[in-house]
């Protein structure tokens, strides 16, 4: 059933200070609305007072420093795809943005919204995990930064308080050449939510893995960084035996389930095959 319009209010914040004041008073943020409005249209949106944040300059800029590229939390998937420096340094994030919905949703949907909506099936979180992103949260009592790898603590649970606003996502710029890999497996190419979304980056020198990060979507209650597999591979020379070992380990580290989109068994096998494809490409 539809929501009753008179029960709801929405104010577009004139500036960040107003947004934070309203959040402190119990209002909730709305950005592109591509998730919240679906709930609203179905009569399932739990919040009655919403503050619009899409036009705040702090949330819409993409800024550069020698050490990081910083994205405002309300930067859209379209803006991510059109940014040439992101494309050259963080291509997996651009690819994830292109996988998320069609053109209309990419024009409205935001990176910060994708993070705080906290769907384990979202496509941008695995990219942010392998790039070791940092989140900046702000409230009337100050701001703080947290590593994205520590942000999701359980299904739809996050290290943030209701009055805090996610303002920025910092991507540390990598100084060295990385092998980068991402593949989404879904029912169709367009508009389909992932059955498995696999992302990895590695620093490799003639089959010796100096450094590797692997993260997946849709295989656990949270976007999952596979630290045990990373540990087993770092500082090792790749061999077919090591790849077979990594396949076994990743099947133990993920926690896939059966749901409307796929089965645990299929997700596990696909995850192992994608890991093999990536590691095979490094040999």
């Amino acid at each position: 059933m539809r929501s009753h319009l008179a029960d709801f209010d929405l104010v577009v914040a004139a500036d960040l200070a107003e947004a934070l004041r309203l959040l402190a008073a119990g209002w909730r943020p709305i950005a592109g609305g591509t998730d919240l409005m679906v709930l609203f249209n179905a009569g399932r949106l739990a919040y009655r007072k919403l503050v619009g944040i899409t036009k705040l300059p702090e949330l819409t800029a993409i800024t550069l420093s020698p050490n990081a590229i910083t994205l405002g939390a309300a930067v859209t998937y379209s803006a991510i795809q059109r940014h040439s420096l992101l494309e050259s340094e963080f291509p997996l994030l651009c690819r994830a943005a292109s996988w998320t919905g069609g053109a209309a949703n990419q024009n409205r949907g935001t990176l910060g919204g994708n993070i705080v909506n906290a769907s384990p099936a979202a496509d941008s979180p695995p990219a942010l995990l392998v790039y070791d992103a940092e989140l900046e949260l702000i409230s009337t009592s100050g701001s703080r930064r947290i590593r994205y790898g520590e942000f999701h603590t359980g299904y739809k649970l996050m290290q943030s308080r209701p009055e805090e606003l996610l303002v920025k996502i910092h991507l540390p710029r990598h100084q060295r050449e990385l092998s980068q890999y991402a593949r989404k497996v879904g029912a169709r190419k367009a508009q389909a939510i992932s059955k498995v979304c696999f992302n990895a980056v590695a620093e490799v020198n003639s089959s010796f893995i100096k450094h590797i990060r692997i993260a997946l979507g849709s295989v656990a209650p949270v976007p999952l960084r596979c630290r045990k597999v990373e540990e087993a591979l770092s500082g090792q020379t790749l061999t077919s035996t090591l790849i077979a070992h990594a396949r076994d380990l990743i099947a133990q580290e993920i926690q896939p389930i059966d749901d409307i989109r796929s089965t645990a068994k299929y997700r596990s096998l696909v995850t192992q095959n994608l890991l093999t494809e990536f590691l095979g490409s490094l040999l």
Binding site: L5, A6, D9, L10, N41, L50, G52, A104, N105, N107
Partner: protein, 152 residues
């Protein structure tokens, strides 16, 4: 009470309206402005039937609260500048039941505005957010190709 005064420019005409802040832009267009060319399909941003152009960008109007569109420039299927695309849709037989057609035309317009000569792959990608229940995609793609060949 959650009414808001909003200003919209729709197909070049300025409007000031008092509507519930969370009323969907789709319903503002259809009910308050009587522009019923924009259709509701799924109501959850999956099908693209309600596509309009907001400040130069293709959007699903079912997902936009009225207050968030305050001050926006909108282009809808009723705009007089869409004739060439509409003509091509008619000539290639790109409409069957017609419910997806306004959204398909708007998505085609948005695509061609950015890329006057899209490849077939780019057309498929540009229209990926628009679903045709009659599955008449090929003739829709043909229509976009036809328009792109007409432009110099």
């Amino acid at each position: 009470m959650a009414n808001a005064q909003i200003a919209l420019t729709v197909n070049g005409a300025a409007h000031t309206l008092t509507v519930p802040a969370m009323k969907r832009l789709l319903d503002v267009l259809r009910e308050d402005l009587r522009l019923t060319g924009t259709k509701e399909g799924c109501g959850e941003g999956e099908c693209g039937a309600c596509s309009v152009i907001l400040d130069g960008e293709l959007v699903n109007s079912c997902l936009i609260p009225a207050k968030q569109a305050d001050g926006a420039q909108l282009v809808t299927i009723e705009d007089s500048g869409l004739g060439a695309i509409q003509q091509a849709f008619a000539e290639t037989g790109a409409a069957q039941c017609g419910i997806c057609t306004p959204g398909m035309v708007m998505a085609s317009f948005a695509l061609l505005a950015r890329n006057a000569k899209p490849s077939l792959e780019q057309i498929r990608e540009g229209l990926a957010g628009n679903i045709c229940r009659c599955t008449g995609y090929q003739k829709i793609f043909d229509a976009v190709v036809k328009v792109s060949r007409q432009s110099s």
